[in-house]
Subunit: 298 residues, 2 copies
């Protein structure tokens, strides 16, 4: 604390920063984007044009319009520099590397599904119809389990972005709008400020309770699931699952990913574990950095 | 059939084959060992000395004495050629690559456990105390779910070898004898020929039924589990598990692997899917071949 007490970071203007960086004396320069800033993602093609490499935990470019996404990909390819973004989905879990491995060795991914949000996983695992759903949301928010604005999680938008990134990794040309999204938050609730939203949060409860009871009547459980299949398209929303379904019983904050391909047709390849959090996200960045260094050695 | 009817493969002497191969006109030569032959594994250092690369599905070298295992590793390293063996454990499941990824990016694996045998997984998933265990073994054998000699599976030897390979991958210097092994087959039964064994197979039943009932009394299920932990050592054998335990509910012939590390301390990284079979094993070999080609490009 004492050392940094008088430290005032200089404010910077992007254009100037980038042209200064371009004069770097090193063999390679790697930019690591661990922000969640859409604005920064617009600079990615420029990073590539300067020959910088990029490791990103930021989902915006991967989930952007095809036009921008392809431009970013093309820019890095044209400039022979690399863009790695394993941390964008499932933090350090080997999802993208496994999908890459399958495709590089002649397989084809036909479906991807799972629970891609630790927050929604926790909420539906905890919810038993007795405590109000909104109360659990407040608990999760106070414990720092949600995004600062919990509607980022509850709207399913974050899960939708992750599913788009994975579907593209699987080789399918898709837009965000190709993924049907069931938001848990009404349009009216989306318009409040965060603290106002928390005050009106109990408006969520009725729908969730109704769905929960409907599932329960059929001996099933309620979960918020993402799924893409080549045949049936893509959607993100509430599903009724058997209580023994692999997606139904996760440890708190775990993600689970299920991949089908020609080789994994009957039994999927399933990867499960903590998909968010400081350690595992930092691990994912480190792992990308290691992969990058291996590529430099060529 | 008709084309091959008159085909008689020329018998070969290894030494001669190897010295002939050494005259190959290619940039690189890759040997793919998809046998289960211990004899062939003894030639691995020689493959390396000739500068050949090796992809193996054969577990013998990876589970050999430290002395031989290290000699193989050293030979490939000294000759700047590569030995890849992802197919030895879990076929195409990304187990070894995930463990490598963790360690390369600064993590340390502290424990590995799971169900490493599709056959034993199937047998204990099916067994309900009503049909005799030996009858299930015969069913599995007739369906080709077991090794030609089902004692390879039932003795736990195959699982023990896989656990040794993984523990070594995790950076621990171990011998096969460091892994406690609980065989389901008595010494007397091991001495029979295969068909004689199948006749006497019901001698297995008493112990399994006793253990099954003991587990059932406690509300638990019986599974054949492999586990290594830095603190508690390594063993392979029968365990009682909660019915909701991730190892308790697998699809037929699935393997499951659970990895703990500093980053995955509370919730493990779990990988599950078919861990044997033609497609996924061929896939693992293909994937190793792709990795190798990437290394050649350096």
């Amino acid at each position: 604390m004492t050392v940094l007490d008088n430290f005032q970071p200089e404010s910077f203007v992007w254009e100037q920063l980038l042209s200064n960086l371009a004069l770097h004396p090193f063999d390679e320069l790697v930019i690591i984007d661990i922000t969640a800033s859409e604005a920064i993602s617009y600079y990615y093609p420029e990073f590539a044009q300067h020959g910088f490499h990029l490791i990103s935990a930021n989902k915006f470019a991967g989930a952007a319009s095809s036009e921008f996404y392809n431009r970013v990909k093309q820019s890095f390819s044209d400039n022979e520099s690399y863009w790695l973004y394993n941390a964008t989905v499932g933090a350090g879990l080997p999802i993208q590397s496994s999908m890459g491995m399958l495709q590089h060795s002649g397989d084809q991914v036909t479906a991807v599904s799972g629970i891609f949000s630790g927050t929604l996983s926790w909420l539906f695992q905890q919810y038993n119809g007795e405590i109000a759903f909104s109360e659990l949301v407040e608990q999760a928010w106070h414990q720092g389990l949600t995004e600062p604005d919990p509607r980022e999680d509850l709207s399913g938008k974050d899960v939708q972005r992750k599913l788009l990134i994975l579907s593209r990794e699987a080789g399918y040309d898709m837009e965000l709008s190709d993924i049907k999204l069931e938001s848990l938050v009404s349009k009216a609730l989306m318009e409040f400020k965060v603290d106002e939203f928390l005050e009106h949060c109990e408006e969520l409860d009725e729908k969730i309770l109704r769905m929960f009871n409907k599932a329960k009547k059929q001996g099933l459980v309620l979960r918020y699931v993402a799924s893409f299949s080549r045949k049936e398209g893509a959607q993100v929303g509430l599903e009724f699952l058997e209580p023994t379904h692999p997606f139904a019983n996760l440890l708190p904050c775990d993600n689970i990913f299920s991949i089908n391909s020609h080789w994994y047709r009957h039994n999927p390849l399933v990867i499960q574990g903590p998909g968010a959090g400081r350690d595992v996200t930092a691990g994912a960045i480190q792992s990308d950095l290691f992969q990058l260094c291996k590529l430099f050695a060529r």
